[in-house]
Symmetry: C2
């Protein structure tokens, strides 16, 4: 049900990312798919510290997230897992798929010996904040962004 | 003045990380230095998407930060730079070294074609939040952490 994404999946992934209140303003889901999506996929796939994971149900991609594993000097040289780009298909919303995806990612982070799983969520996504808090995450940090 | 850290620098880096209200509870600055710090340094050094940067003044390390460059599918396949583990030596506090370090990291992120620089800061570090906001960062996100 969960596996690493393949190049053939990228179109369906971008479709999901674009079908979102914030995503629709910043993604570009067109045919053919803009080349930068494929380039990003190739960069992720060739990096052992990045995994693009899809949830598959009956042959259809119903969810996506990316996990980045990072070695840090801080916390006594501990590795962290950062989750980003979490989306589920609207056809399966409210069925616990998101929760299963995050739980899977947490287990994956343990396998990679991470001491911490982290993510940021836009403050306007109040449902997402509650969702992550239910799963045990604590909103202890400010998430700061600077657009270049 | 700014360069990538070398293995010989790790002791001084950990000393700075440990000399901090939060850091002192989670770092372990002892002689000899715990091996996991050196292992983390080696993992960072061998990863082209991670850079541990030190600020050097008159032969002494006066600051440190880590930059992670990550390819994402989101934002049309855009790369991001994540800054973490920012510390300046207490001997140079209030002299603008931190600001120069972050400005340097932002320029480095541009060189790596990142569209965004991001970081999280503990909500109890109110000075740090003001510091980053002055540099143009916006606290648009909640930073969530889950300890494993």
């Amino acid at each position: 049900m969960f596996r690493e994404a393949e190049e053939n999946d990228v179109g369906e992934i971008v479709k999901m990312l674009a079908n979102d209140r914030l995503g629709k303003t910043r993604e570009n889901y067109t045919h053919p798919l803009p080349k930068q999506y494929i380039k990003a996929f190739e960069a992720i796939q060739s990096d052992t510290n990045n995994e693009l994971i899809v949830a598959v149900l009956e042959g259809h991609i119903i969810g996506v997230l990316q996990i980045t594993f990072t070695p840090y000097i801080t916390h006594q040289g501990g590795w962290r897992a950062t989750i980003e780009g979490v989306r589920t298909d609207e056809s399966v919303r409210g069925k616990g798929i998101g929760s299963k995806m995050i739980t899977w990612a947490i287990e994956r982070a343990k396998t990679r010996n991470c001491h911490l799983v982290q993510l940021t969520t836009d403050k306007t996504r109040t449902d997402a904040l509650r969702f992550y808090e239910k799963l045990g995450f604590q909103a202890t940090h400010e998430g700061l962004k600077l657009k270049l």
